[in-house]
């Protein structure tokens, strides 16, 4: 029961932070928005791309530089997926290779 609740809580916290991102994105021209919201000991960090696609990460607070590099690498991967003319922007990314690479990056930087 505990683990199930935790997963739902994480999702809830992330979605609640979306509103904050919306406003914050227009105040700066940087892409990495650092930690924008806290909940107990969970921190939400956000990276907004030029096309206003948001990468959000829920984590316990540490290692900001690692998170920034992680986001930058994921951004490059995302652009490569986006360049596929058959990919509809905004739809779910189903490539398993993409999944493997993101997990490898997560192990490396986080």
């Amino acid at each position: 029961m505990q683990r199930e609740d935790a997963a739902q809580l994480h999702q809830f916290v992330l979605h609640a932070a979306l509103d904050i991102v919306q406003d914050l994105a227009w105040t700066t021209s940087a892409m990495f928005l650092k930690a924008i919201d806290r909940f107990n000991d969970l921190v939400v960090s956000v990276y907004v791309t030029a096309g206003h696609t948001r990468f959000m990460l829920l984590h316990d607070s540490r290692n900001e530089d690692g998170i920034k590099s992680f986001f930058q690498e994921v951004h490059e991967l995302y652009i490569k997926i986006l360049l596929n003319p058959l990919y509809l922007p905004g739809s779910r990314i189903t490539s398993s290779h993409f999944d493997t690479k993101v997990r490898a990056l997560a192990r490396k930087y986080l």
Binding site: W26, T28, S29, T49, A50, K80, L82, L83, N84, F98
Partner: protein
């Protein structure tokens, strides 16, 4: 020695580096491809406005991708948050990458606050196209208008973008103008950001 180096083959496109991309693409190849695109769409629609819509949608997809790619490549990961910023981005960077030169001019509309115009003596896509008289106001520049729309909308500046022929005195061929009309919320946000 020549020929001993092997180009690294990547198993998956996600592993290949993004790189600078090809600086030049064959003009004739593009002209053929574009003409096929127009002809194919002509067989699928019943009237001119649908044809223009289809070309615009094709351009929209290009615009969305060009925006992300160029911000990553040429602007070192900085987003545009202001109206003038995004307009000059389209007018110089996007045009330079797509057509090899910056657009001829960028003007603010005199009648309405929310209108801007990018003018070009002759759009690259129209160079090998002639419009028959019975098609009236049809403009293949709808494709380019779609590209601009894709860039603007994805950057958070929704707009209606259209392409028009503007006759110029002293010149046989009319100039092309891309008319950009921004949505209400863009102007409100701009005013708020000061």
């Amino acid at each position: 020695m020549i020929g001993t180096g092997k180009i690294k083959q990547y198993a998956n496109v996600l592993d290949k580096p993004l790189g600078k991309g090809k600086q030049e693409v064959s003009l004739s190849a593009f002209a053929f491809l574009f003409s096929e695109l127009v002809q194919y769409n002509q067989t699928q629609v019943d009237n001119i406005s649908e044809l223009e819509t289809r070309l615009e949608d094709a351009g929209y997809a290009v615009g969305a991708r060009v925006l992300e790619l160029l911000c990553q490549r040429d602007k070192g990961n900085r987003r545009e948050t202001r109206l003038l910023g995004i307009l000059s981005f389209v007018h110089s960077t996007v045009w330079k990458v797509l057509f090899g030169k910056v657009a001829d001019s960028l003007e603010k509309g005199t009648e309405h606050e929310d209108e801007y115009m990018i003018s070009e003596k002759e759009l690259l896509v129209n160079r090998f196209i002639s419009i028959p008289k019975d098609m009236g106001t049809f403009h293949c520049g709808a494709f380019v208008a779609g590209i601009v729309k894709g860039v603007l909308e994805n950057a958070g500046f929704p707009a209606v973008v259209t392409a028009h022929f503007v006759p110029v005195q002293g010149q046989q061929r009319p100039r092309t103008t891309i008319l950009i009309k921004f949505a209400e919320e863009v102007l409100r946000r701009e005013a708020r950001l000061g």
